[in-house]
């Protein structure tokens, strides 16, 4: 049975919850009361979900709810639109009496949250629904305002409101994992497979300053950790997709003994060449990938918990049919140690501190290709290697006093990066060529951030974000420094940035579930290490080889967002409009001193152009048609203008939308879904000779059933009508896959 909780958005920031008592009736009917943590007002239509089950309910007009549950241990998730969702553990024993009292904290800024649990992921976004997910990208793709740069049928790079790369803060459990590929083939989002994804938090715009200095948005991929509420669990899943002969298998297990809990997972996937709509398979478009994760949690007393985590990801033979190179091997290893302290005072609810280290290695090669005929870098093989090593510490302290909430963040990390490239001509008279793309660039980064929430008066809540970043960086290898000195003048070319950021959000309750939000921000983002110190880095957007610029200024952004939400028992609406004025927008300028003799060998340097201006909005709607049937729709649009060149910005998605009809009855469910995009003809012709993209309309259908205890089957067809299309953000107009039949079988204990 489909419940309204599925369509309510959870709004997530590190949670504050006041649990007064957890006691239950002998009949195991749980009574609870959900209140606003700041005002004490009861929250109607808040949702309570029992994780790992299909059980859940919503609160009545006085904020009360009831749940009937057998004996056992449960994990409850309590969420309500506009509030920070929270989870709690519930131990059901007979003869419990007192009701639960749960406080939810207003989130004030808009956060999209996608929650995944178990073999059948559940997405608490009005428009986001997928019971069959081949990758974390599928989840994010359904959030309006989020798009992807596609370089291959692999590892898409997230774009939020038209911005990407260093403009967006992408972290895994708050950990910075800096890509090792100078061609950005390795966004860290590809390291979190769905079996390890607990929750995805997305904030659009530069309003969330707790994760990083950014102007586009933050994406935090929160991974699954050991679960003390489950003594033993195991999930396995096998699936097959026809369009690329995708075979994948996943397994995850957990075990708890007393104060110790472990969890491990492994997955493997392998795809062959994929076929676009109505066309033959694209050669060299497959990949192979495995992923493993291991976590060990130890509780020390009732207030301390230590978790050691390891996440490994390997991808190889990844074909990039529209790029010059393939990824021969891409490896990532992420280690962390997290200490969580819940002092059990009302003043400090939680203090989490983490130290981490990660290493990313990336080998590119074109030895499998015929390089004689290509336009760029013709008749030469050019194996490339890149690596990064990032060491960091992250500490988040939550404080509360009366109706005030304050979260303090200390965020420090250091990244060392190296990249090089050989060029072996097929002609014997051309000597081997070699260069350093990144010569041991060291970037250090320290930041403090404060996130403060307070009610101003009844129904009006304010959230203030402050962040101060400091980042010194330099090139450590003399040979690389010498090349940059030839370009920028002799000196150590060291750079040190200090960056202040501020954001303010106000939320006004309008009554009967309506809410109006105004957010303002003046924030910045630092140049990336490649923008500062890269050398001979090919940019597929404009087709130029780039030299980094140590003198770049940070991009600065002034943003405004106006949001509206309204939720009744039949309809949910969420909409926002934004504008984003980016100063010192980092672009590319022709390098007159470095000339090639063909149009395919062109050089640019990064520079701060005057400004860019983005504006747009997103809207989502959910209509409950029947108890078992709902209709959803989303639309998002971004318009970007490069004010210096007076032309549209490059890689800006067109008007895009999803709509779906979802049914769920007894053990059966089914979705009929359409994704559509309007043509994009606002393109960057001066900067990048970018071409326009046609619109498309693609229909997906899927369904599933429970075959037996813990056994689920789902089948579906993506791109039912085998439409040939490509996204505007797809490099080289690489088409998307055509009709894909798939089947997934999962088993959980």
């Amino acid at each position: 049975m489909l419940k309204f909780r599925n369509i309510l958005l959870g709004l997530v920031l590190p949670a504050c919850i006041g649990l007064s008592s957890i006691e239950l009736h002998a009949q195991n009917t749980v009574h609870g009361h959900i209140l606003d943590a700041l005002t004490g007002e009861p929250l109607a239509a808040a949702s309570v979900t029992v994780l790992g089950t299909d059980t859940g309910t919503t609160t009545d007009n006085q904020g009360h709810f009831e749940l009937a549950l057998p004996d056992g241990n449960y994990r409850l998730r309590i969420s309500f639109v506009g509030y920070t969702s929270t989870e709690m553990t519930l131990s059901l024993q007979p003869a419990s009496r007192a009701p639960l009292t749960i406080h939810l904290l207003p989130a004030v800024i808009a956060v999209d949250e996608v929650v995944v649990r178990g073999a059948a992921p559940r997405i608490n976004d009005p428009a986001a629904s997928s019971h069959h997910l081949k990758a974390t990208e599928d989840l994010l793709d359904r959030v309006p305002g989020a798009d992807f740069i596609q370089r291959a049928n692999f590892a898409w790079e997230p774009v939020v409101r038209g911005l990407s790369g260093g403009q967006v803060g992408l972290v895994i459990d708050g950990i910075k994992v800096i890509g090792a590929c100078v061609d950005k083939m390795d966004p860290s989002s590809s390291y979190v497979e769905v079996e390890n994804l607990e929750k995805l938090e997305l904030t659009k715009g530069g309003f969330d300053l707790t994760q990083s200095s950014q102007i586009g948005g933050t994406i935090n991929l929160i991974t699954q950790k050991p679960r003390f509420d489950q003594p033993l669990y195991a999930d396995t899943e096998l699936s097959y997709g026809s369009v690329a002969a995708l075979r994948q298998g996943r397994v995850s297990d957990g075990l708890t003994r007393g104060n110790t809990s472990v969890r491990g997972s492994f997955s493997y996937k392998e795809a062959g060449n994929f076929s676009p709509g109505g066309a033959e398979p694209i050669p060299n478009s497959g990949f192979k990938k495995n992923n493993y994760k291991f976590d060990l949690s130890q509780r020390i007393g009732s207030r301390h918990e230590l978790t050691a985590s390891y996440l490994g990801d390997n991808a190889w033979d990844v074909g990039y049919p529209v790029l010059l190179m393939d990824a021969a091997l891409a490896k990532a290893k992420i280690y962390s140690l997290t200490h969580t302290w819940r002092p059990d005072t009302h003043f400090i609810p939680r203090w989490e501190t983490k130290v981490y280290f990660n290493r990313v290695d990336h080998w590119m090669s074109d030895f499998k290709r015929d390089v004689r005929e290509r336009t760029v870098m013709r008749a030469m093989n050019m194996p490339m290697f890149g690596k990064t090593r990032t060491t960091g510490a992250l500490s988040k302290l939550e404080l509360e006093h009366n109706a005030y909430r304050l979260e303090l963040t200390l965020d420090a990390y250091e990244t060392k990066s190296f990249g090089d490239m050989w060029m072996f001509s097929v002609f014997e008279n051309i000597p081997d060529m070699y260069l350093l793309n990144l010569g041991d660039v060291r970037a250090r980064h320290g930041a403090i951030a404060a996130d403060f929430i307070t009610p101003l008066r009844t129904g009006l809540t304010a959230r203030l974000g402050l962040r101060l970043d400091h980042s010194p960086r330099k090139v450590q290898r003399d040979e690389a420094l010498a090349v940059l000195q030839g370009r920028w003048g002799v000196g150590d070319l060291a750079q040190s940035y200090t960056l202040g950021n501020v954001s303010l959000s106000l939320t006004q309750e309008l009554g009967s579930g309506g809410r109006l939000r105004l957010s303002l921000a003046n924030v910045g983002r630092l140049p990336t290490h490649v923008e500062n110190y890269g050398h001979y880095v090919y940019n597929y957007v404009d087709g130029y080889f780039y030299t980094g610029n140590p003198n770049l200024k940070p991009e600065r952004s002034t943003q405004v967002e106006l949001g509206f939400e309204k939720w009744t028992s039949k309809v949910g609406i969420r909409a926002s409009i934004f504008s984003n004025h980016v100063h010192h927008y980092i672009g590319g300028r022709n390098d007159a001193d470095l000339l090639g003799n063909t149009s395919a060998l062109r050089f640019r340097t990064y520079y701060n152009s005057s400004a860019a201006f983005l504006t747009g909005g997103e809207a989502s709607i959910v209509v409950v048609l029947r108890e078992w049937l709902e209709l959803t729709g989303t639309a998002s649009y971004t318009r970007g203008q490069n004010l210096e060149l007076d032309e549209p910005m490059y890689l800006i998605p067109p008007l895009t939308g999803w709509t779906s009809l979802r049914a769920m009855r007894n053990k059966w469910w089914g979705d009929l879904e359409a994704r559509m995009a309007m043509p994009q003809n606002r393109v960057a012709r001066i900067f990048a000779d970018e071409d326009g993209t046609d619109g498309y309309f693609v229909v997906n259908v899927r369904g599933g059933t429970t075959l037996g205890p813990g056994i689920d089957l789902s089948v579906g067809i993506d791109n039912l009508f085998d439409v040939h299309y490509h996204e505007h953000l797809s490099f080289g107009n690489l088409p998307n896959p055509g009709r894909n039949f798939y089947l997934t079988l999962s088993y959980s204990i």
């Binding site: 013709r378 008749a379 090089d420 060029m423 051309i430 000597p431 060529m433 010569g439 290898r477 090349v483």
Partner: protein
């Protein structure tokens, strides 16, 4: 947990390629220890004074590094004037080529003096080389002549009018390199340094298949005695063509091309 904590301590070391290290014209790999290739040219003895001349490599047309160890018995002589003058002898005449007073400079090693004489050979003439040595040290002074073997090389190119010598760098590295060129003309008086020329340079990397690119550079300007200095920022290692344009008033523009190799 221990492993994770230890890994936090790890630092990065970049990995550089093991590329054959060579001089600009790939005539000889340059070893890390100059002692491995050093060649003894001869020892000059004058009473208790001994001057031992060695070259860092076999002598060749172009610039060469020669050092002199000056000793009295086993004791190094700290102050000495030693001048080397390369001379080309053919058809009964002696051509000073082109340094006539290459004075060696003192080094940090006591009793050791170094210089970089330039050997420029007239085109298509057969003859022999000698080094004329003038010395004054430890109360002794005099002149001597040392016959030497000089290998032909690409370090000096002849345009038909000018002798253009590639003087520096001997081993160009990626990054910003200072370029020094020598410009001489052969007259009856020997090699005459030309100080009034306007030089330009064009660095070019041929990447094959009709592709190639230049790199930022500054044209050499005259410094002293026919030597011109400029700079080139080699953006990558590999083969580089260095075209030199020579312009003197009233003369047609001349061009010469050095094809060399830049190491990482």
């Amino acid at each position: 947990m221990i492993r994770a904590a230890m890994l936090v301590m790890l630092l990065v070391a970049g990995c550089a390629p093991d590329i054959t290290d060579t001089d600009f014209f790939r005539e000889h790999p340059i070893e890390t220890d100059p002692e491995d290739t050093s060649v003894e040219l001869g020892v000059l003895e004058d009473g208790p004074l001994a001057i031992r001349l060695t070259a860092s490599d076999s002598l060749r047309i172009g610039i060469n590094t020669i050092s002199a160890e000056v000793k009295v018995g086993q004791a190094p002589v700290l102050q000495a004037d030693v001048t080397l003058s390369p001379q080309w002898i053919a058809a009964g005449r002696t051509i000073v080529s082109p340094l006539d007073a290459g004075e060696l400079e003192i080094t940090d090693t006591p009793g050791r003096f170094v210089g970089a004489p330039l050997f420029v050979q007239p085109q298509d003439e057969k003859g022999v080389w000698q080094l004329q040595i003038t010395y004054a040290a430890s109360g002794e002074s005099g002149e001597a002549v040392l016959p030497v073997q000089i290998k032909p090389s690409l370090w000096v190119q002849y345009t038909g009018e000018y002798y253009v010598s590639w003087i520096l760098p001997v081993r160009p590295e990626t990054g910003l390199d200072e370029i020094e060129l020598g410009l001489h003309r052969l007259t009856d008086e020997g090699f005459i340094p030309l100080e009034d020329a306007t030089l330009d340079l064009y660095p070019w990397m041929d990447m094959g298949a009709g592709q190639g690119h230049s790199t930022p550079y500054e044209a050499p300007v005259h410094m002293r005695e026919g030597r011109y200095r400029g700079s080139v920022n080699f953006i990558m290692s590999g083969g580089w063509d260095m075209t030199v344009f020579i312009q003197r008033s009233g003369m047609p523009r001349d061009t010469i091309d050095f094809k060399g190799f830049v190491v990482y």
